[in-house]
């Protein structure tokens, strides 16, 4: 009798796990469409194409097909948006740290919809890592515009969150002022790239 109960439990568990739909892996892949007016950068979109790009002075800093383009880490009332890509032959990480936002899940990111963040305000910071060199930026000016945040349903099931927007800032890097301009991002935030701990 006990064995029968165990067998039934195994069957039910297996069925439940099999029925649980995983997110479409295709939605986490990168679709890059070059911007006609900003050569080398992806066009701004709100489709969750998992791309970002910006000019650092004249060099294009863009997402790649093989690295996860973005991670959102929420920790101690600070939201960190990390963009990982390439500039020429160098690996580059750009991290925006925003104080005062602590969404519990990726679906709660909608509270950032249509939000403009002045990066020079207290509590906010920008970190730039080029190769092995990491610097917390001494900003001259800058803003992060989260233009649209959408909860995505696929075949009527909640799937992930799409976050799209722009960024630009001026800062010092190696005692020399640089400009990060024409920045744009279109990111799908799901199980694989949202952390809250």
């Amino acid at each position: 009798m006990r064995i029968k109960k165990y067998i039934l439990l195994i069957i039910v568990s297996t069925t439940v796990l099999a029925c649980e739909k995983m997110e479409d892996i295709q939605l986490s892949e990168t679709i890059f469409i070059e911007d006609l007016y900003a050569p080398g950068l992806p066009v701004y979109s709100e489709w969750g194409y998992n791309t970002f790009g910006a000019y650092i002075d004249r060099k294009a800093f863009v997402s790649t097909n093989y690295d996860l383009p973005a991670k959102i880490i929420v920790n101690d009332d600070i939201l960190h948006l990390i963009l990982r890509g390439r500039m020429g032959i160098e690996d580059v990480d750009l991290k925006f740290s925003i104080k005062g936002y602590s969404p519990a899940t990726n679906f709660d990111l909608t509270e950032l919809d249509n939000t403009t963040i002045n990066l020079k305000e207290a509590g906010h910071s920008v970190t730039l890592k080029i190769g092995n060199e990491t610097n917390v930026m001494q900003l001259i000016e800058g803003e992060l515009i989260i233009k649209r945040v959408q909860r995505l349903y696929v075949d009527s099931e909640l799937s992930r969150t799409i976050m799209s927007g722009y960024f630009n800032f001026k800062t010092f890097f190696g005692n020399e002022p640089i400009a990060v301009s024409y920045g744009r991002f279109d990111l799908g935030i799901g199980y694989e790239n949202f952390y809250n701990y």
Binding site: D24, Q26, E34, W47, Q150, V154
Partner: protein
């Protein structure tokens, strides 16, 4: 391209009409024949998927750099059949015809989002904080037109058993008989949302349909007997736009077969 075809059509018609008016003043020894043409053919339209159709990774600007693991395709083809009555002058080797033609267009959009996923994502709702995609295997559209063609045919080379001809024509629809758009979902559970999704992609299309075309062909048969014609459309254009929901079609090619039956002969 449109201007070139229009100019060719005008010059051809003017020349044919001019020669015909000369013929009317000719002596009654000139030979005129009335033919009945039974025709059928295949049409291959050309165009792009509508940019307003919210398909994920619908990359319509082909000249930009892009990369994606999937792709979207549009396939359009048509069939036409009809009857034409032609007044043909053997002296001028020129004929003018009109009649009625039925044309059916089928369009299908398919695609894959990765190498093993034969579906694409269609956005059918975007409001507030929520956006809704559907996994779609195919979008299809069918259109039926009844049109009146007007054609001018000239045979520059006529041998005993065959001849070569060139033709210029135009047609305009009098009835858009039927129009249907359908969708096949990847998951059958989405069938309950079929009407919502179709309503989200439907647009008001042009009820008028007109084309301008040219062709070259071969006519096989002897004088006074049924002839068989085969012709290939030169790159031809739609004079009207916005005729289809899924694609922006502005040109077509194709082939036409017809049987030419002599009805009367006057001398």
């Amino acid at each position: 391209m449109k201007n070139y075809l229009l100019a060719f059509f005008c010059v051809f018609c003017t020349s044919a009409l001019d020669m015909h008016s000369q013929e009317l003043t000719e002596k009654p020894s000139a030979r005129q024949t009335v033919f009945l043409h039974l025709e059928s053919g295949f049409i291959y339209p050309g165009g792009n998927i509508r940019e307003s159709l919210a398909i994920r990774q619908n990359i319509s600007s082909w000249h930009v750099n892009q990369s994606a693991s999937g792709n979207i395709f549009a396939d359009s083809h048509g069939f036409s059949g009809g009857l034409r009555c032609e007044y043909f002058s053997s002296l001028l080797m020129t004929g003018i015809s009109t009649g009625v033609r039925f044309t059916r267009y089928n369009t299908a959009i398919t695609g894959y989002s990765s190498s093993i996923s034969d579906f694409f994502y269609l956005r059918y709702s975007m409001g507030g904080s929520d956006t809704k995609f559907a996994r779609v295997k195919s979008l299809t559209e069918t259109n039926y037109f009844i049109s009146i063609p007007v054609e001018f045919r000239f045979i520059p080379l006529q041998f005993e058993a065959f001849g070569l001809f060139i033709k210029a024509g135009t047609e305009f629809s009098i009835i858009n008989l039927h129009k249907a758009t359908d969708i096949e979902f990847q998951e059958s559970v989405m069938n309950i949302h079929r009407e919502d999704v179709l309503n989200a992609i439907m647009i008001v299309t042009n009820r008028y349909y007109s084309t301008l075309y040219g062709s070259i062909g071969l006519t096989i048969g002897r004088s006074g007997r049924p002839n068989y014609n085969i012709e290939a459309y030169l790159p031809s254009i739609l004079l009207t736009g916005n005729n289809f929901t899924l694609t922006e079609t502005d040109r077509f090619q194709g082939v036409m077969l017809s049987v030419q039956l002599p009805l009367t002969k006057k001398q």
